[in-house]
Symmetry: C2
């Protein structure tokens, strides 16, 4: 039996998908919202976690690396992410967190089941339809420092607050914001935040 922990915030959809997966004779399915994912992972000890990357507001609090990284017991967990091709930032964060499987949310459930079996066996699984998303993820135009600036700005921090947080001068923060606006092809700072959020960078 493959023990699967399904992580998704909307109970209604999570239960429906969990029931679908549980109909496979070789899958034993557990489920949790993001806020309880790490705790459930420790008690359930699944062979893999299937996680929805669109629940961003919550999983920012429970980073993906908490699931993939070494646990308190010295071992991490295989992770398969449900992703969309038009949010390259999500794909990149998942890749950086060493997720082993990538299934497009536009796929049929059968595709997810194939992916689960492959990842449980320790093999990489990537939906072909996510190819363009990975290409865009590789071409991400912003540096790590620019992303830090942008992410604080997106949360409503002023130039002075960003400068203070990152130990920079106000002028340097303004230069970063100008570079970010130019690189994202945005019209202004708010537009740069909108574009970057749409693609899942921040």
């Amino acid at each position: 039996m493959i023990r699967v922990l399904l992580v998704h915030d909307a109970c209604l959809l999570r239960l429906a998908l969990a029931e679908r997966l549980a109909r496979e004779p070789d899958l034993e399915v557990f489920h949790a919202p993001w806020s309880q994912a790490h705790g459930r992972q420790r008690t359930v000890r699944p062979d893999l976690c299937v996680v929805d990357l669109d629940d961003e507001s919550t999983y920012a609090l429970t980073p993906l690396t908490e699931l993939t990284g070494p646990s308190a017991h010295g071992r991490g967990c295989r992770v398969l992410v449900l992703a969309t091709a038009n949010r390259p930032g999500q794909l990149r964060r998942a890749a950086e967190a060493d997720a082993l499987g990538y299934v497009n949310k536009a796929s049929q459930p059968e595709r997810l089941i194939t992916g689960i079996r492959q990842v449980a066996a320790g093999q990489r699984f990537v939906d072909d339809s996510l190819g363009f998303g990975f290409l865009k993820a590789a071409q991400m135009p912003l540096t790590q420092r620019e992303l830090s600036v942008l992410s604080l700005a997106a949360r409503g921090a002023s130039v002075a607050e960003i400068a203070h947080s990152l130990h920079l001068s106000n002028g340097t923060v303004r230069n970063y914001m100008a570079a970010i606006t130019r690189k994202t092809g945005a019209r202004n700072r708010i537009d740069a935040i909108r574009i970057s959020q749409g693609e899942g960078w921040v």
Copy 2:
């Protein structure tokens, strides 16, 4: 038999939920992404549509009123929305579009099924757990004009562009933005956009 059209953008979750609903003996279930919802509605002629309000980027293009309003054939369709309590803006838009049912996405599938039967019979159905969301929806602090300004700003328009679109002076737009920032309890313009988007107002 109750004919249900389930509208949700992520195929994987839509199919899982559609399969769950189809196990009820009195439900005949069809499904579509938002981009095809209106067309499917005309061919399927469902007794009600069950729609997920979180697919906002797409349903902005296919407004909810297209589903609830009178169709080309002179009749609209009953709509049940899947919503979350912490996004009062969504609830308000659904109420304005005359949705008859409101089910919390944090509910169990059985709750949705009860709601479907009730809405199909022409009765209102509102999840108790959405009460606080409706309270917040009623207390929405922004005027229609302020919402228009905010929504253009959130899409990256400059003060001059907003002024031009809405036939206002630049000074008036700045006054609106200041009022919006104050009323939403935000630190600045970007923060006001972040707060308003989080609550589903724009």
